[in-house]
C-alpha cells in the first residue's frame, strides 16, 4: 500500500443530469416561495402599515387589543374551540375504540359513515342545524328558548365537522397496539379498568393530544360555520372577513389574520414537539392486538356507534332532504325547485362548474407539483440547503388557516408592484391558492410513500447510467401510484369544499360553489344553499367512489406486480 498526500476533494463541474435536478429544485423553490411564503410575508408587513402603506409599528395591534368588540371575538373563538374540542375528542375516542378494540360488525361501514363530513363544506353542517333547531326547525323546542344562531349552533356544527378529523388520528393511534402488553397484563390478573388506564390510554396518549390540537385549530380557524350559524356571535374568522370585505379595512384584517395564526402555530408547534417524543412505540417484535368477542362490550359499542354514526348520517341527510323539499317546513313535498339555481344565483350553475374546473385543475397540477416536489426534497442529490428550505415551506400551510392564506394572497396579488396582478380573480389563482392551502397533507402523504420505497433506486439507476428522471417516470411514479391517486382525490375534495381562502380571491366569472352557498345563505335562500351544498357532497363522494372502483378494478390489473 502506498500512502498518498491527503488532499481535499475539490468540487467538480456539474453533469447535465445534476443541472436538470438543480433546475427542478430551483423551480420548486420558486413556486413554494411565491405560493406560500411571500403572501404570508406580505400579510405580516401589511399588519405593520397604515392605509397609505406607511410603517406604523405595532399601532394596528395596539388598536386591535384596545377595541373591546375585537378582543371579545378573540375570547369567543378560544372558548368555543376549547368546548368543541372537549366534546369531539372523547366522542371520537370511543368511536375509534369501538372500531379498533372490539368485535364490532361492519367496521368498514361505520368508518365510512363517520368520514362523510369530510366530503361536505363545513357550511353544510351549519345549514343542517338551522333546519333542525333554527327558527323554522322541527326540534326548535328542544333548545328550551335558547337560540341556535350563536355559540350553541357553532359548537354543534363544529362537533359534526371535526369528528372525522379526530377519528382518523385516534384510529391510527389505537390500531398501533402491542398485543403482548395485553397478554402480559392478563397473565398478571390485572383488572380491566387498570389495563385501560395503564396500557390503552398511555398508548393512545399522543394520538389524543394530536387530535385535540387538530380539532382546536380547525374550529378556531373555520370560517364557514361561524358565518352561517353564528348570528351576532363574533369570532376571529368572521371578524377578518368583515374587516376586509365589509369595511375594506385591510390593515385590521391583516392584524386579525395574524392573531388567528397564533393559536394555529402554537398548536402546530406543540404537536410537533410532542410527536418528536413519540419514538418507537411499537418495537419490531410487537404482535398486533386481536380483540376478543365479549357480548356485553360489543353490544354496548355497537349501540354507541349506531347512535353516533346515525346522528352523523342524519345531520348530513337533513340538509340533503331539505334541498329537495318544496317549502320548509310548511310544504314537505319533494321537488327540484331549489335546484333551479338561476333563481338564486346570477350565473345559475356557473359556480358549480367553476368549482368543478378549479378542483380538477388542483387535483391534476397540485398532485404533479406535490409529488415531484416531495421526490426532489426526499430523493434529490446535493443543494441540501435548498431542499431543507423547500421542506420547511412545504410544512408551513398546515399551520396557516385558509382565511389567513387567502388574505395574504389578496394583499399580495393586489399590490401595485406585483406583475402577477393580472391573475386576480382567475381560476388559475384560485387553483394555485388551493394547492398551497392543502399542500402539507398531500406532501406528507407523498413523502411517506417515497420513504417506503427502496432508498437505493437512485444509486442503482446511476450505476446503470440511467438519468434520475427516467427512473422517476418508469419506477417511482408507478410504484407510488396509490399514494398519487390518494393525493389527487384529497386535492379534489378539499378544493371542492373549501371556502375560507378563496372567498377573498374569486372574480365575477369565477365564483365557486362554496362561496355561492355563503351568498345564497346571506340572501336568505337557505334551501338553494342546501341544494348547492348537496351538489358538492355528491360530486366529492362520486369522485371518491370512482377512486375506489378504479383502484380495485383497473389499477388492480395494471399493478399485477404487487401480488405475490
Amino acid at each position: 500500500m502506498t500512502m498518498a498526500m491527503a488532499l481535499p476533494v475539490s468540487p467538480r463541474r456539474l453533469t447535465a443530469e445534476e443541472i436538470v435536478m438543480r433546475a427542478a429544485i430551483a423551480a420548486l423553490l420558486v413556486f413554494l416561495v411565491l405560493a406560500i411564503a411571500v403572501p404570508l410575508a406580505v400579510l405580516l408587513i401589511k399588519s405593520f402599515q397604515d392605509g397609505d402603506g406607511r410603517f406604523v409599528g405595532l399601532a394596528n395591534y395596539a388598536r386591535y387589543f384596545t377595541t373591546p368588540t375585537l378582543v371579545a371575538s378573540l375570547w369567543n373563538s378560544v372558548w368555543v374551540a376549547a368546548l368543541s374540542t372537549a366534546i369531539v375528542v372523547p366522542l371520537a375516542f370511543l368511536y375509534a375504540y369501538a372500531l379498533t378494540r372490539t368485535c364490532l360488525r361492519a367496521k368498514g361501514l361505520f368508518m365510512a359513515v363517520a368520514l362523510l363530513p369530510l366530503f361536505a363544506p363545513s357550511l353544510l353542517s351549519a345549514i343542517s342545524f338551522i333546519y333542525i333547531f333554527g327558527n323554522q326547525g322541527f326540534l326548535k323546542s328542544w333548545l328550551m328558548g335558547a337560540s341556535i344562531y350563536g355559540p350553541i349552533g357553532i359548537v354543534l356544527a363544529q362537533v359534526f365537522y371535526c369528528f372525522p378529523h379526530a377519528l382518523m388520528i385516534l384510529v391510527t393511534a389505537l390500531s398501533l397496539a402491542d398485543g403482548r402488553l395485553y397478554e402480559a397484563a392478563a397473565a398478571m390478573g390485572t383488572p380491566r379498568w387498570r389495563v385501560f388506564s395503564t396500557v390503552t390510554l398511555p398508548g393512545a396518549r399522543y394520538g389524543l393530544i394530536s387530535a385535540a390540537f387538530i380539532v382546536f385549530t380547525l374550529v378556531i380557524t373555520d370560517f364557514g360555520i361561524a358565518k352561517v350559524i353564528g348570528g351576532q356571535f363574533n369570532v376571529l374568522a368572521t371578524d377578518a372577513y368583515k374587516q376586509v370585505i365589509g369595511q375594506q379595512n385591510f390593515e385590521m384584517g391583516a392584524v386579525v389574520g395574524f392573531v388567528l395564526l397564533v393559536p394555529a402555530v402554537v398548536a402546530f408547534a406543540l404537536d410537533r414537539l410532542i410527536q418528536r417524543r413519540q419514538v418507537a412505540l411499537l418495537s419490531a417484535r410487537a404482535v398486533p392486538f386481536q380483540p376478543r368477542p365479549s357480548l356485553a362490550k360489543d353490544a354496548a359499542f355497537t349501540g354507541y356507534c349506531l347512535a353516533v354514526g346515525g346522528l352523523i348520517a342524519a345531520v348530513l341527510g337533513v340538509a340533503v332532504w331539505a334541498s329537495f323539499v318544496t317549502y320548509w317546513p310548511y310544504n314537505l313535498t319533494l321537488s327540484l325547485k331549489n335546484y333551479d339555481l338561476e333563481n338564486f344565483e346570477p350565473t345559475g350553475y356557473g359556480p358549480y362548474f367553476a368549482s368543478l374546473q378549479m378542483a380538477g385543475l388542483a387535483a391534476v397540477f397540485g398532485t404533479a407539483i406535490v409529488f415531484a416536489g416531495a421526490y426532489l426534497i426526499e430523493k434529490g442529490q446535493g443543494v441540501r440547503f435548498a431542499r431543507s428550505l423547500a421542506q420547511l415551506i412545504a410544512m408551513l400551510p398546515m399551520a396557516v388557516p385558509g382565511l389567513v392564506l387567502g388574505l395574504g394572497y389578496a394583499f399580495f396579488i393586489n399590490a401595485k408592484w406585483n406583475p402577477l396582478g393580472f391573475l386576480y380573480g382567475t381560476i388559475a389563482l384560485l387553483t394555485i391558492n388551493s394547492i398551497a392551502h392543502f399542500y402539507t397533507t398531500a406532501h406528507v402523504t407523498a413523502v411517506t410513500a417515497l420513504k417506503q420505497i427502496d432508498s437505493e433506486f437512485e444509486a442503482v439507476s446511476a450505476s446503470l447510467k440511467v438519468p434520475f428522471y427516467k427512473t422517476f417516470a418508469r419506477v417511482t411514479v408507478p410504484v407510488c401510484m396509490p399514494a398519487i391517486l390518494d393525493i389527487a382525490v384529497y386535492m379534489f375534495v378539499n378544493a371542492m369544499t373549501t371556502v375560507s381562502a378563496v372567498i377573498f380571491l374569486y372574480g365575477p366569472s369565477t365564483k365557486l360553489a362554496s362561496i355561492s352557498i355563503v351568498h345564497m345563505d346571506e340572501a336568505g335562500a337557505t334551501a338553494a344553499a342546501a341544494a348547492m351544498a348537496t351538489l358538492i357532497v355528491l360530486t366529492a363522494l362520486a369522485v371518491k367512489v370512482l377512486h375506489l372502483v378504479l383502484d380495485r378494478l383497473v389499477f388492480g390489473k395494471l399493478q399485477a406486480w404487487r401480488r405475490r
Binding site: M1, T2, M3, A4, M5, A6, L7, P8, V9, S10, R12, T15, E17, E18, D454, E456, F457, A459, V460, S461, A462, S463, L464, K465, V466, P467, K470, T471, R474, V475, P478, V479, Q559, A560, W561, R562, R563, R564
Partner: protein, 383 residues
C-alpha cells in the same frame, strides 16, 4: 463462530498466483470521510489487483460500506483519490464511473419484470431491441435463471432476486463489480449455495470484485484478499489463510474466527505470566521483562491428548461449560490453580467420546508455546 475446515495453513492455489502478473485495477488513496463529529473513514488506502475478489470485512459501523460507496461515487469523501482501471475517477459522478453494484436490499424495481430489470441500463443506451433481448437472456442464463425473465420480483424467492440483481449489475459488462452485503438477507442454506455460485461466476468472468460483509465465514470462503476494517481504519490486508493464521492485531484475531486472548506480562526471555499461569511462548522475541502483552490461541489449537505432566505449558483445568455446536463441542475451561481466567477449547465428537468429557470434569491440556501469538497492548484496546 464455526471452525473453518476448508481454510488450512497450506497455501491455496489462490495464493500461489504470482502477484506481479496482475495490474492494479482499483486504487484508493488517503480516503477520509467524516459525518459530523464521526470519522467513518480515516486515511484509508488500498489496492485491488485486476480480476480479484476482495472482501471488506468488519463489524457494523467500521466504515466498510462507506468505503464501497466512496468507490462507487455515491458518497463524496472529504479527502483522497479513487482510481478505477488506471483512470482517476475521484471527481466523477457515479454514472461516469465504470462499475455494477448489488445492494443488500437488491433494490430491484418492483414494477418491472426480471428481464426488464436486467435490461434497464441497456435500454437507455439505444441498443437494438433484439440485441438487448439477446443480452438479457444471456445474463439470465448466466445467473442460472433462463426461464424466469417474465416474473416480477415479488414472485421470486430471495435467492432468485439476488441473482437478478447480480445479472442487472453485470449487464453493461462493467470492469468492477461492487457487492454490498449481497447475501445477508438470505437464509443460511441459500447463502452458502449462492456464495459458491458468485465466486464461480466471478472467476469465470474474471471481473474485479469488491464485496462488503460482516460475516467472516463468507469472507474466508469467497475472497482472494480480505481487508479487515475497524473504526474507519484498515487493520490488516491479506489472503484468507494469512488473516486466519497470522492475524496482525488482537482485533483481527478476535473478529476472524474465535481466539483466546490472555492478558499477560513478559516474565523473562520466552516466558510470560498470564494470571495464575506461567507460560512458555516462542514468539515473545526481544520484549523486555514487565512489558504487557496479549497472548492469542485458537480454541482448536489447545492440545488435549497425551499430555505428560511435565509437558510445556501443561495446565490442569476444570470444564465449567460445554456448548454443543454440532460437529464439535466448545468447552470453557478454568485453570484449577485459580484466577478469573478462562480458556476456550474445541473437542471433536471423537475426543468427547475418547476422553469422556462432561461439565465439572478435571483434565490436563496444553497451550503449545510455538502456537501462542503475541499482540502488543494498546493497539486495539477493544479486542
Amino acid at each position: 463462530m464455526e471452525v473453518q475446515p476448508h481454510v488450512t495453513p497450506v497455501p491455496s492455489p489462490r495464493e500461489t498466483a504470482p502477484a506481479a502478473a496482475r495490474p492494479i485495477h482499483l486504487r484508493v488513496q488517503g480516503i477520509t470521510k467524516r459525518f459530523g463529529a464521526f470519522t467513518a473513514l480515516d486515511d484509508v488506502s488500498l489496492e485491488v489487483e485486476s480480476g480479484r475478489l476482495v472482501c471488506f470485512l468488519g463489524p457494523s459501523g467500521c466504515g466498510k460500506t462507506t468505503l464501497l460507496r466512496v468507490i462507487a461515487g455515491l458518497e463524496m469523501q472529504d479527502t483522497g483519490n479513487v482510481e478505477i482501471g488506471g483512470r482517476d475517477v475521484t471527481r466523477l459522478p457515479p454514472a461516469q464511473r465504470d462499475f455494477g453494484i448489488v445492494f443488500q436490499s437488491y433494490a430491484l424495481f418492483p414494477n418491472l419484470t426480471a428481464a426488464q430489470n436486467v435490461g434497464y441500463g441497456l435500454v437507455n443506451r439505444r441498443k437494438a431491441r433484439a440485441e438487448i433481448a439477446k443480452r438479457v437472456a444471456e445474463l439470465l442464463s448466466l445467473v442460472g435463471m433462463p426461464e424466469q425473465g417474465a416474473k416480477y420480483p415479488s414472485q421470486l424467492s430471495g435467492g432468485q432476486q439476488q441473482r437478478v440483481a447480480l445479472a442487472r449489475a453485470l449487464a453493461s459488462s462493467p470492469s468492477l463489480l461492487l457487492l454490498d452485503e449481497p447475501l445477508s438477507a438470505l437464509d443460511a442454506r441459500v447463502r452458502v449455495r449462492l456464495r459458491d455460485e458468485i465466486k464461480a461466476l466471478q472467476r469465470r468472468l474474471g471481473i474485479t470484485t469488491v464485496m462488503v460483509t460482516h460475516d467472516q465465514e463468507e469472507a474466508l470462503a469467497m475472497a482472494d484478499r480480505i481487508v479487515v476494517m475497524n473504526r474507519g481504519r484498515v487493520e490488516q490486508v491479506g489472503s484468507p489463510a494469512e488473516i486466519y493464521a497470522r492475524p496482525a492485531t488482537a482485533f483481527v484475531a478476535h473478529f476472524v474466527g474465535a481466539m483466546n486472548i490472555l492478558d499477560a506480562v513478559v516474565a523473562g526471555p520466552g516466558r510470560a505470566q498470564a494470571g495464575s499461569l506461567a507460560l512458555a511462548c516462542d514468539a515473545l522475541g526481544q520484549r523486555a521483562e514487565g512489558h504487557r502483552v496479549r497472548l492469542g490461541l485458537r480454541p482448536e489449537e489447545v492440545r488435549i491428548r497425551g499430555i505428560e505432566p511435565g509437558a510445556p505449558n501443561a495446565v490442569l483445568v476444570t470444564v465449567v461449560l460445554l456448548d454443543f455446536l454440532g460437529a464439535f463441542c466448545r468447552a470453557t475451561l478454568r485453570p484449577t490453580a485459580g484466577g478469573d481466567l478462562t480458556i476456550l477449547c474445541d473437542f471433536s465428537a471423537n475426543a468427547m467420546r475418547d476422553l469422556g468429557i462432561r461439565e465439572g470434569q478435571a483434565l490436563t491440556v496444553a497451550l503449545p508455546p510455538d502456537l501462542l501469538r503475541v499482540f502488543d497492548n494498546g493497539g486495539s484496546p477493544d479486542a
